[in-house]
Structure formats: C-alpha cells, structure tokens
Symmetry: C2
Subunit: 221 residues, 2 copies
Amino acid sequence: MISQTEENYLKALWNLTSTKGEASVNELSKQLDIKMPTVNSMMKRLAEKGLVNYESYKPLKLTDKGKKLAALIIRKHRLTEMYLVEKMGFGWEEVHDIAEQIEHIQSPAFFEKMDELLGYPKIDPHGSPIPDKNGKVETEQYIRYIKLSDCKEGDTVTFMAVSHSSDELLKFLNSRDLALGSKIKVKSIEPFDESMTVSYASRKAEMLSNKVCDKLLVRPV
Amino acid sequence: MISQTEENYLKALWNLTSTKGEASVNELSKQLDIKMPTVNSMMKRLAEKGLVNYESYKPLKLTDKGKKLAALIIRKHRLTEMYLVEKMGFGWEEVHDIAEQIEHIQSPAFFEKMDELLGYPKIDPHGSPIPDKNGKVETEQYIRYIKLSDCKEGDTVTFMAVSHSSDELLKFLNSRDLALGSKIKVKSIEPFDESMTVSYASRKAEMLSNKVCDKLLVRPV
DNA sequence: GTAATAAGTTAGATGATTCTAACAAAATCA
DNA sequence: TGATTTTGTTAGAATCATCTAACTTATTAC
C-alpha cells in the first residue's frame, strides 16, 4: 500500500520530471517544502517499493510503475478539478486546494462516476491533459502548445492552457476576462521588458507582462 | 489543529454517547477496532485539547467543544452521503465508505457548495439528521421515531430512517424494495422469533427478521 | 465477601514522517 | 586546479499513532 505522503512525493516528482525526465533531491525538497534529508530517505523507500530509481548522487527518475501510479493520482486531481468547476460551480482559481485533498480518496467508483458525469473529459479547467485510466497522457497536441511569450508581433493564437497556474495568476486572468479558448492577437511587444500588448474578445488593448505571457500556452490559429 | 485520526475518535465517541451521554474506553476500542491502551492515551490527548472529559476509571464524555466539533464532522459526512446519492447517482448502500474519507476534507467552501446544491437538506439518505453549521442537531422529530420491532400487529407506520446501517442491511432492503417513506403495515408477528410479516407498496407479505425490524425506525401514520 | 473476570492503565517498543547537525561529494568559480 | 558553494547523505532525535506485556482497579459471580 502507498500512503498519502508517498503519493504526494510521487506526484511532485511526476511534475518535476515531465520535461527533463529527471529531477534532483534539492528540487523535490523545494517543491514539497520538505527538508532534503527527509526527501532523501523517502526516495530510498520509494526505490524499495520499485517506484523510483534512486542511486546516491544521481538524479531521480520515476520507474514505469512509479510513472503510472503518479499519473493515476494526477488523473484523480484533474478529474476532480473539472468536476468542481463543471458540476459544482467553482471558479478555476478555487479548485486546486480542494482537489489536492480529494485526489487521495480511495474509491475507484467515485472517480469513475465523476468521469462519467463529466462525459470523459480530456482536459482539466486549466487546459492540462487528464491521464487516462492506464496512466497514459494525451500529449499529442499538448506538447505542441507554445508559450505566448514566444510569439511575435502580429501573431494570432488561441489560448489553450495555463502552465503551473497559481491562484494569483488565475485571478489576474479572470480580472482581464482572459479565458481558455480566447483568440489572442499580439499587437506589439515592448523591447525593454518583453511585455505584450494584445487584443482579444472585447478587449482592444491589454498589456501583459512577460511573467504572465510565459505561463500562457497557446496554439497558432 | 486536529488530525484525521483525532476526528475519527471524536466521531466514534459522538455516536457512542448519543444515547447514554457517556461511553467507556472499552466500547470506543471496539467501535474503532483499536486496542484499549491506544484509545486510553488518545483520550488523554483529547482531554488536553479540551474536547473530552477524561478521569481515570470514569466514563468518557465529550465536552461542549468536543460535541460541536464532532457534530460538524458528522455534518460533513451526512452532507456528503446526500450529495453522492442525490447528485452523483450512488445507491444509499454505496456511500458510507466514500463519505468516511471525504468528511476529513478541509474546505468550508466545498461543503457549503454541497449544502447549497442540495437545497440545505435536513436528513441524509438513511434518514439521519444532518447537524447544522453550529453543530446543532434537529432531534425534535427524530427522537420520536420508534423501532419497527416495537410495533404491534395491525400497526401502520411510515419508514423514516435506518439506524446504524450496514451495507448488507441496505442491500437487503433494496432487494425487498423497502425505501424510506414506505407505508408499512404489520400483518403478523411470529411469537417464536419475533419476526414480522408486513405489507407495503407492491409487496403483499414480506417476512422481516427481528434483527432487521430492530434497525428500521418508523413513525406511526 | 472473596475469587474470578472484565476493564482500565502504565511502560516500553515500533514504524512513519518529520526535523537539525554534521559530514561528504559534486559543481562552480576564480 | 584549488577553493568555495551547492547539493546530497548519514546520524540521531522528536512526534504521532499504533502495538504487546504487565500491572491495577472495578465489577461480577458464587
């Protein structure tokens, strides 16, 4: 059996390794806000359980078993977020903390029911893909998304997802009426700080800092 | 702060003390399937926190603070059960184990939303009262319910609640189409084992053992 | 009203999850 | 390349929630 604590380590590791494929004890420690020695011994334990490849002074990797398990936790998290938004009327900026707790519920029937009631969604309210029941992630189109900050003047793109969303960022986007699916046109880019002036829907000219643009994943129209 | 474990002790104590007002370490130990010494030390801890009145060799009682806290956990449990049945389509026999986990979620907004979506229900799917936001329980009519096993031949009653329901009992009731609200007529009582033959809705003559009748709470029509 | 049984308590151990302090290895910088 | 900084590891302690074994108090049964 796997504890909630262990689940949290797996999930954090899954997130950290999604790009590079590996992560350090230090990164994991910072991500979880848990001291390095604690992380170190947990890694040994997860290695014992066949979920992590751990060797002294080497980067951490999830085993296939660990990856699958982590993806299934992420699946529960993202399904929950979608359920909270679609069926309970929460805002996309409110659901993370609740999902963080509900993802640990042990009840296949519960998540099965959510999935069914939602019509088997492929993405969560922030545009992130929901892993399937086998822990497989639909990366096909997702990985093709680019950052708004990498677009050029004159580009027109569709806002597809928010990466590493925080409450604050989501509230900011709410305040600007910037929702998933919006068609965004890059009107100009300020050379000094790389801030963008964009237009979309009812907004003729909105200024977005580079820090914001870096978090918005878009697809060329 | 109070841990999930502590919440479970409080809840069990609340259930045990609901009738007599007090409970023994031994009863609590059996209820939770946790050995007496463990229960004993937990009682000392909860006494430290002002939730339980504990004195050596004396019966256990919840303090007012403990009662309120326990009732609020029961509230979360019962609201969840109602939500699972009403909004997600689960059967009343399936919801206990899920609610047992969800009751520990820390998110006032989450339960607030459930309550709102359900239209502020007063009872759960098994007919038990849902404590209000202040931990007050609507006992007015609930305590007036009597057991079906205490009825006489010829009595006609309404099935209002199931006490201490188990999955097995609920599945049994499902199999006999016996649902809350059913008007039940006691046709005869077998003197030997006190089993009852009753009629209700489409059923002309169903035999119910005393063990079953003892769990069904009814109100005279 | 003792003797036997049940219930309650104390003491000490274990495993999980965390920490700090101290040391070792790797990476970076000058 | 050698010194410094960062990262990783080991050792040892703390807390929580649990246990078993042994002892004490209360209750029940003759």
